[in-house]
Point group: C2
C-alpha cells in the first residue's frame, strides 16, 4: 500500500478536481491526468478519443442504462472472439472504421492498385503453392483460374513477390469457419515468377454474410442492415522495396457491389470473372463443368519503399 | 443463400457507394445504411457514435497498425471480464465516461444527495441485515459504525428505504476479488426504520487501486496515471416514489480525494469519519481497539417520482 508515494507523483496534474466535476468539466480533468512523460502518440490518441467519446455522450445525452448496455455489448464482442472468430474486427468493419483507416493510411499514388479492408479471416503462414496449383484443396465451388502480373508503377515486373490469397467457398464460408477443419482450403501463399506473373486454380468466390450470430449481427439487425458482402478474393502482396498491398478483387455484376456490409468496394477493384462452358481450360486441363477465369494485374507502390505508416 | 431478397430490401439506401469511397465520404455512407425502420433511439446513438468515432480517427490519422492494436486491446478487455471482474466498466470509468453519464443523467435538484459512479463491484441481492448488525462478516479492518437518516427534499423521513452498501477492506479489496471466498463481506442490504434511520457496523474503508493487472492497468501505466481511488463507502438507495440514488461517501482528509482514478469525487459526498480511542462505542458495545464513526444523511429526489431516465 504505497499510496503516499504514488499520490505525490500524481499530485500536481489533478489540482482543481474537487471544485466542480460535471459532464462538461470532466473532459479536461481526464485529459489533464495524462503525464507529460507518457508515450506521446498514445497520449495523443487517448486524449482525442476521450474528447470525441465525451462529445458523443453529451450530444445524445447517454444515460446510465444505455452505458451499461454498451458495456455489456462490448464485453460480449470481446468474449465472442477466439482464434477463428474476431468479432471486434467485424464491429470496426460494419461501422466503416476499418475502411476509413485503410483509405487514409494506405492512400497510393494514382495508378497503383487501391487497398481495401483486411477483414477478420486472414491466417498467417498459409500453405506455399507452386504456380498453377489448385489451392481449393476440397473447398466446394465451380473452378476458377486466376492469373496476372505484379508490377510497380513504372511497369517493372516484380519477381518473387509474395502473394497471399484467401476466399470464401460457394457456401459463403472461409475454411476457418468450419469447426474441426484443420487444413487450409482456398487459401495459399504463392510467389511471382521472374516476369512478375502469378497463376493459380481455386473456386469461384460467392457473396456471403459476415458472421451474424453474435452481437454485431444483432446490432445490424436492429439497425435494419443486412450482413452481406459481394463476392471477392482477398490478396495480400509483399515485395522488397514496395509498400505492402492488402486488397480484394470483386466480381463485376455480382450482388451487393453497391451494398457491401463493410464498405470495402472500390470501383478500381471490380473485375470481370468470365464464365466458360465445359471444355479445355488454362494449363492444358479439360473441365467437365463450367468454369471461370479471372485476369487481374496488381501495381505496387515502390516509391514509398516500405509501409507509409512505418 | 437468400441474398437476392435481402439485397432488394437494402437496395435504395446504398445508392452512390461506388462513386467515391474514401475516409471523408464513408461517414455519410455508413449512416445512410441505417434503415428508416430501425429502433429510433438506437439509430440515433449509433449514427452519432459513428460520426464522432470517424472524426476521431481522421483527427489523429489513425493507421492500420494502431487500429489493430485498439481491436486487440478491446478484445482483451472483453475477455478479462467474468462474474467477478468487469474490465469494460473499468475502462469506461478511467476514461471519465461513467462519471460524465452519471453527472448528466442523474442530475438532482439542489439539496438532494449527489450521485456518483456505480463501479464494477456491486452484487445484487446482498444479504439482508437488521439495523445495527455487523456487516463486515470477517472482512479485515478497524471497526466503523455508520448511521444516518434518509429523507426527501422537504425533510420527510423515508421509512422502509432499501439501502445497499458495499466497500473494500483494509487490504483494498472487495469480497468478490478474493478467489474462493463465497460469502458476502462488508456488503449488505438494510432498511430504514419508521423514522427513516439506518445504522450498521462495518470496517473503515481504505484507499485502493482499481484492478490494474489487466489491459486497463497497462493503459493507465502507459499514460503515466495511477490506479488509486480514495477511501469510500458505496450506497445504492431505492424507495417508493423516489429516484434511485447511487453514490459514495468519501472519507475527508484521506489520500486521492483530488486524484480519484475514476473521477467520482464530489465535494458534497465527503464526510468526517471520526476516530475514537478504545472504549464504549455505539449500541452499548465496548471496543478493545480504536474505532471510527460516520454520520451521513441522504436526501432523495422524490419530485421525479422514478428514475429520470426511465
Amino acid at each position: 500500500m504505497e499510496h503516499d508515494t504514488i499520490q505525490n507523483r500524481a499530485g500536481a496534474g489533478a489540482a482543481g478536481e474537487l471544485a466542480d466535476v460535471d459532464e462538461h468539466t470532466i473532459t479536461a480533468l481526464v485529459n489533464g491526468r495524462i503525464a507529460a512523460t507518457a508515450a506521446p502518440r498514445l497520449a495523443q490518441i487517448v486524449a482525442a478519443l476521450t474528447r470525441h467519446l465525451h462529445d458523443f455522450a453529451r450530444e445524445v445525452r447517454l444515460d446510465e442504462d444505455e452505458l451499461m448496455a454498451a458495456i455489456a455489448f462490448m464485453t460480449e464482442v470481446g468474449q465472442m472472439s477466439d482464434a477463428r472468430r474476431q468479432e471486434c474486427i467485424l464491429l470496426s468493419d460494419v461501422l466503416g472504421l476499418s475502411m476509413l483507416v485503410t483509405a487514409q493510411s494506405r492512400r497510393k499514388p494514382a495508378g497503383c492498385t487501391e487497398a481495401t479492408v483486411f477483414g477478420p479471416f486472414h491466417v498467417p503462414d498459409s500453405p506455399e503453392h507452386a504456380p498453377g496449383d489448385d489451392i481449393a484443396n476440397g473447398a466446394p465451388g465451380a473452378p476458377c483460374f486466376v492469373r496476372g502480373v505484379v508490377r510497380t508503377l513504372d511497369g517493372t515486373p516484380v519477381a518473387g513477390a509474395k502473394i497471399e490469397v484467401w476466399q470464401a467457398d460457394e457456401a459463403g464460408c472461409y475454411d476457418v469457419q468450419y469447426a474441426g477443419l484443420e487444413q487450409a482450403r482456398a487459401r495459399a501463399t504463392l510467389r511471382t515468377d521472374a516476369h512478375g506473373a502469378y497463376r493459380f486454380r481455386s473456386i469461384v468466390a460467392s457473396p456471403y454474410p459476415i458472421p451474424h450470430d453474435g452481437p454485431v449481427g444483432r446490432l445490424l439487425a436492429a439497425l435494419g442492415r443486412h450482413p452481406w458482402r459481394p463476392a471477392h478474393l482477398h490478396f495480400m502482396i509483399t515485395a522488397d522495396a514496395c509498400e505492402p498491398l492488402i486488397t480484394h478483387v470483386f466480381r463485376a455484376g455480382a450482388p451487393y457491389l453497391d451494398a457491401d456490409a463493410v464498405f470495402g468496394v472500390r470501383q478500381s477493384l471490380i473485375a470481370e470473372w468470365r464464365l466458360h462452358p465445359p471444355g479445355p481450360g488454362p494449363g492444358g486441363v479439360t473441365l467437365a463443368q463450367p468454369f471461370y477465369t479471372l485476369d487481374f494485374d496488381f501495381v505496387l507502390n515502390a516509391s514509398a519503399g516500405v509501409s507509409e505508416s512505418a
